[in-house]
Subunit: 448 residues, 2 copies
């Protein structure tokens, strides 16, 4: 039995061959299972996807998926995956640059679009693979290869297609950023912070490519290839990692107003020469990139039309990377030409439910224009209490120019309650003699 | 004579009809002129675009374009634009919801894809227009309608297609953000800050929709429609603007650790009811949205797979908005089906020039492991001087555990110079008796 993870509407469902079923592969399974119907709905019933075949080393291994994978979906032979007529699109998630190369090349030659998150493969052997892609007019999609769930590839390739890209500055290795952050916060040595990253699952057992800068360098090569369009020799890039950073360096930087980040810098010079380098770098604390903490990634892009932009999000992990793989799968489905080049048409469902504003809840700042006499706070507070609205503070700023003013502002900070409840209370407060005009209400947002 | 703004390679060039030729329209002209060849190159010669016809009120008016617009390209009659067989794609930039509606509807009925930046039109009459779009299987692209040069529409529509969107929190009206910023920085009243925004060209002569929250509300409706897919009645949205914010409110918020921003909040509740509101809101100073200053925009998105993401950039202005229009033009060209659903193939040019790392320049932090004796700084400084490298500071942190250590770290902060020049100097310094191991170099980046 096959698990069809998306409802088939007006389209035939496309079969996906997953080469590799580790963290990201399982994430793709789970995401399609959870949101496959949503994807089909959003594309106006044009696109449905299902996983048809999965390449694994050990079919008997336990899998951390939200539903059971039928045993007959597994194969241990990559040719069986690529050549399966039920497989329309191949997703390469095994890593490395040898078997992965063979799988991608074979899929392209079979005119099956490829989705991959393998930055090393594309940075080191992309020129060969893109040549095969072009020859067979079959695309390689690789959003997942750079910055996990951040759609930086599509942004550069599509959204900024009308821009000459002047520069990128990116924090694109979450492991290094986590380590540098822990060294800064807790004064840990590099080795201790690395061990903590490994204990938290933020660093591989072999963290070499993360800490020596090459993971970031591979991503930088892909960004530069997109922006400038010529093959880039990885050996010509200047790369150094964070192994030599010491807590004393971080403290010294801090005293000067800097933080140390592993930064990928790509810049086009006026003569069109392209600078690409990855190094530990001092950046001003006031710069927005200095606020990128933990395993988050961010890429600042400067385009000649768009100006300064920043893209921030989760640069790794099961679900964010699966988010990018799934977006590429939809793109690949479009490239198969069954569905036209355009998106679904909005709206894609007839009706939904808006939450009435009276039911929306936050904390509040409320400013009243009151007549200054004893008992004002008590009167307002009594009405709020009658309506079961908690007060976290009150304040009446004294106007220094007129300390004995008859009419003053009185501010109340209120606990979270539905806006409708607040409105009812405020309508009653407005009828008090001491309140001279409708109160002014701002929201206090608890943003995550 | 027609100005063909992109070299026609292996494709026929598509004709654009520009309805409206104000700030953004001129920006589209300039961007295509400047970067049209780049677009054609990046699409592997598949897409070329040229402006074929321009709808204006007054053809005699002087235009601020980087090249002269041929007089016979202008028309004052919108039907002449939409019906012109040389026009393949219609760009609607006239604003309003009446003539703009007629133009967009007529273009769709003529199977000409539409690109628009008109948020009011789509938020108020989008249901009608999207129905016509669906009926004629002809898309409306509207990246420019929300957040200028930030590709938030495409991100939600394509990159996050596999995500259930849990929330958006957005600063999506640059005028309001500028005004609130000036009130906070300079203690200006709302009226004074608005006047300053108008003097700087950051607010229209009639700023009503910007300051009363409705410009942001229109954008929020578009984001919610993309994420949740059902028609949204604008009259059901709770909207309040910044007119009632006073410097005293901002000062009070500041004392509590908050800033006041005009925030658009969209949130899906567990029962799938969607909350949409636009209000002045207290947000914690530590939140990344608090760092969005001036006319910049930012949208934080939380998707169930991608997790937390933030998209930041220029939310308005000629070039950023033109950047989004041009991206949509390329998308529209793809939807015309002449070019297949997929992107160009990488690399798209045979060769380019990498800047040798020796020629890349920044300031530097250099740490030496030295033998602590008199003359060490002088010896190192002499070599740096010989190589014409300026020193902005030196520092030798004393190890409190061992103040008389024989071997110590010595830090030099160096002025900007080419890395090659630094490397040559460091190679010489390494030969000094007092230097015990290769120095450690970090970059000091002057990020904009």
């Amino acid at each position: 039995m096959r698990v069809t993870v998306a409802v088939v509407n007006t389209c035939s469902s496309l079969g996906i061959g997953l080469a590799g079923f580790g963290t990201v592969g399982s994430g793709v399974w789970n995401t399609l299972e959870r949101n496959g119907d949503l994807i089909t709905g959003r594309t106006g019933g044009r696109i449905a996807l299902h996983i048809a075949k999965i390449l694994v080393r050990d079919p008997a291994k336990a899998r951390a998926t939200t539903s059971e994978v039928p045993a007959d979906m597994f194969t241990t032979e990559w040719r069986a995956l690529v050549e399966d007529p039920a497989v329309d699109i191949v997703v390469e998630l095994i890593g490395g640059t040898t078997d992965a190369f063979d799988i991608v090349a074979a899929a392209l030659r079979a005119n099956k679009p490829v989705v991959t998150g393998n930055k090393a493969l594309l940075a080191e052997r992309g020129v060969e693979l893109f040549a095969i892609s072009r020859e067979h007019q079959t695309p390689i999609h690789f959003e997942a290869a750079v910055a996990g769930g951040i759609p930086i590839i599509r942004t550069v390739q599509d959204s900024f297609i009308g821009n000459r890209i002047q520069s990128f500055s990116g924090i694109i290795n979450g492991t290094s950023n986590f380590i540098l952050g822990r060294m800064a916060e807790a004064g840990l040595s590099f080795q201790a912070a690395l061990a903590e990253a490994q204990a938290n699952g933020y660093a591989e057992a072999d963290p070499t490519l993360d800490v020596n800068g090459w993971d970031a360098a591979h991503k930088a090569i892909l960004l530069a290839t997109l922006a400038y369009g010529f093959p880039i020799d990885a050996s010509a890039i200047h790369v150094s990692g964070i192994e030599q950073v010491r807590p004393a360096d971080i403290a010294f930087a801090n005293n000067l107003g800097y933080v140390i980040k592993l930064l990928a810098v790509i810049r086009e010079h006026p003569d069109h020469a392209v600078e690409i380098r990855v190094q530990p770098s001092f950046i001003a604390k006031s710069h927005i990139l200095a606020a990128v903490h933990g395993v988050f990634n961010a890429v600042a892009v400067h385009g000649d039309a768009a100006g300064e932009s920043l893209f921030y999000g989760r640069g790794a992990g099961q679900d964010p990377t699966a988010s990018s793989v799934v977006a590429d799968l939809v793109e690949a489905a479009r490239s198969l030409g069954q569905v036209g080049g355009h998106r679904g048409f909005l709206p894609y469902r007839a009706a939904g439910q808006l939450l009435p504003v009276g039911q929306t809840s936050t904390a509040y700042y409320v400013r009243f224009d009151v007549t200054d006499r004893p008992g004002v706070i008590a009167e307002i507070a009594r009405v709020l209490a009658d309506h079961r609205i908690g007060i976290s503070g009150t304040h009446s700023p004294v106007n220094p120019a007129n300390p004995d003013a008859e009419f003053v502002d009185m501010v109340f900070l209120l606990h979270t309650c539905p806006f409708g409840q607040l409105q009812t209370a405020l309508a009653e407060i407005e009828t008090l003699d001491c309140v001279n005009s409708p109160p002014v209400v701002f929201r206090i947002e608890a943003l995550t």
